[in-house]
């Protein structure tokens, strides 16, 4: 086992987490689980930002990551409020049942 980890491995980890997020986003039927997959994707991107910030020895990546976090918080708040409203009207959390916008 090498004493230091190449930077590229952090990026690979980020790619794996992102791919898992995409898989959850496409394949799960519960709305809340889909939402959590989106949060997983955002976390993966945060890791990439921090890694590159380390590589370039600049702090800008940290700030981007900070903003991503803020926006994710806002998005979670509003998104969960929407989910609540949908649940109130449709009595279901399965996204396949919320398809009345069909042509």
């Amino acid at each position: 086992m090498p004493t230091s980890v190449p930077v590229s491995w952090y990026l690979i980890l980020s790619a794996i987490l992102f791919g898992l997020g995409v898989a959850g986003f496409i394949y799960r039927r519960n709305i809340i689980t889909v939402f959590m997959s989106i949060e997983l994707m955002l976390n993966a991107v945060n890791l990439t930002f921090i890694t590159f910030s380390y590589t370039l020895k600049q702090v800008d990546g940290h700030i981007f990551s900070f903003f991503v976090m803020v926006v994710a918080a806002a998005e979670a708040a509003v998104g969960l409020a929407i989910i609540l409203t949908v649940f109130k009207n449709r009595e279901t959390l399965m996204i396949d049942d919320v398809s009345s916008m069909k042509y």
């Binding site: 959590m36 803020v70 708040a77 409020a81 609540l84």
Partner: protein, 166 residues
């Protein structure tokens, strides 16, 4: 030492991620996500992002995920019937394809970045609150202000959407 910590928490993160995608009950998924966030915080610390690691734990894991859990409890969401609606063939073939895809990505990334560089804990000292604050309030002032408006809008939106209809 660095490598050990990296591998440990990286595998915890991947394991929690897989569990998030495959668990049936939403609460289990939420707890998995908290696990992912925690391990990522450790990894940020290793890369010199102490402020971001703290923010991750406080904001992300501590507030957003709590919100998620609250909503799951509020909606009384139960377990799904089957978590992944695929045939057996698609399931196993999908794992194979995914593994192949990830291998490809790894190869590309390895080839692009120089291998000599390694992560040393403490090599990057710029991730302090001081540095972040300096950059935030000078170069990135406008996005900062805009983001605050964004949060305001989100608050208003959430309040309007969730109120009881009279």
């Amino acid at each position: 030492m660095t490598a050990l910590i990296f591998f440990l928490f990286a595998s915890i993160a991947v394991f929690c991620g897989i569990s998030l995608v495959t668990q049936t009950h939403p609460i289990a998924s939420a707890l998995s996500l908290i696990g992912v966030m925690g391990s990522l915080a450790i990894l940020y610390l290793q890369l010199g992002g102490e402020f971001i690691a703290a923010a991750q734990v406080i904001v992300y894991a501590g507030a957003i995920m709590v919100l998620f859990v609250f909503v799951i409890m509020l909606l009384n969401a139960g377990a799904e019937g089957t978590s992944l609606q695929m045939s057996n063939f698609a399931k196993y073939a999908g794992i194979f394809v995914l593994a192949a895809f990830l291998g490809l990505i790894s190869f590309v990334i390895q080839a692009m970045l120089p291998k000599t560089e390694g992560v040393v804990f403490g090599a990057f000292q710029g991730g302090t609150a001081l540095n972040i604050g300096r950059k935030l309030f000078t170069t990135y002032l406008l996005p900062f202000e805009v983001t605050s408006v964004l949060i305001l809008i989100a608050i208003l939106g959430a309040m309007v959407l969730a109120r009881r209809e009279i």
